[in-house]
Point group: C2
């Protein structure tokens, strides 16, 4: 069944307290060399039938209206073929 993935990330100009918390924890756990961490969301949508242009347009509308907050978040949509 085809799978469409929507990645939602905070916009670069938006503060990301979750990402900052992770970034702050890394050195305490002994990890160095990470200069920035951003935390976002990943949605995996299983699609019934083929992923047509119309389906992708629908997923874009879902991402805009339900999965992301366009004021503070960007999203990307891509198709992952799955077993």
């Amino acid at each position: 069944m085809p799978r469409v993935v929507v990645d939602v990330m905070p916009k670069p100009e938006i503060l990301d307290p979750q990402g900052k918390a992770v970034q702050g924890a890394l050195p305490r756990l002994g990890f160095t060399g990470v200069t920035d961490v951003r935390q976002g969301k990943r949605f995996e949508l299983e699609i019934a039938g083929e992923v047509t242009e119309a389906v992708l347009a629908d997923v874009h509308r879902m991402a805009e209206t339900l999965l992301s907050n366009p004021v503070i978040e960007n999203f990307t949509v891509h198709v992952e073929q799955d077993a």
Copy 2:
């Protein structure tokens, strides 16, 4: 600067109430054809310097110990080259 992405998703056998909530909302918003939704997390790590095998091994350990809960979540690590 190279970017390493860690995707964290609930294991298939684990209930995913957030995903189910999204899935339940889609028909009410007029979207059909989505048979399942899983919601997870996406972490974007900016790395200082090159992404070597040692860095990727470090990121795997971060993912295991800090970014995911291995009891209920799976994770994948991949590199995204960025400007």
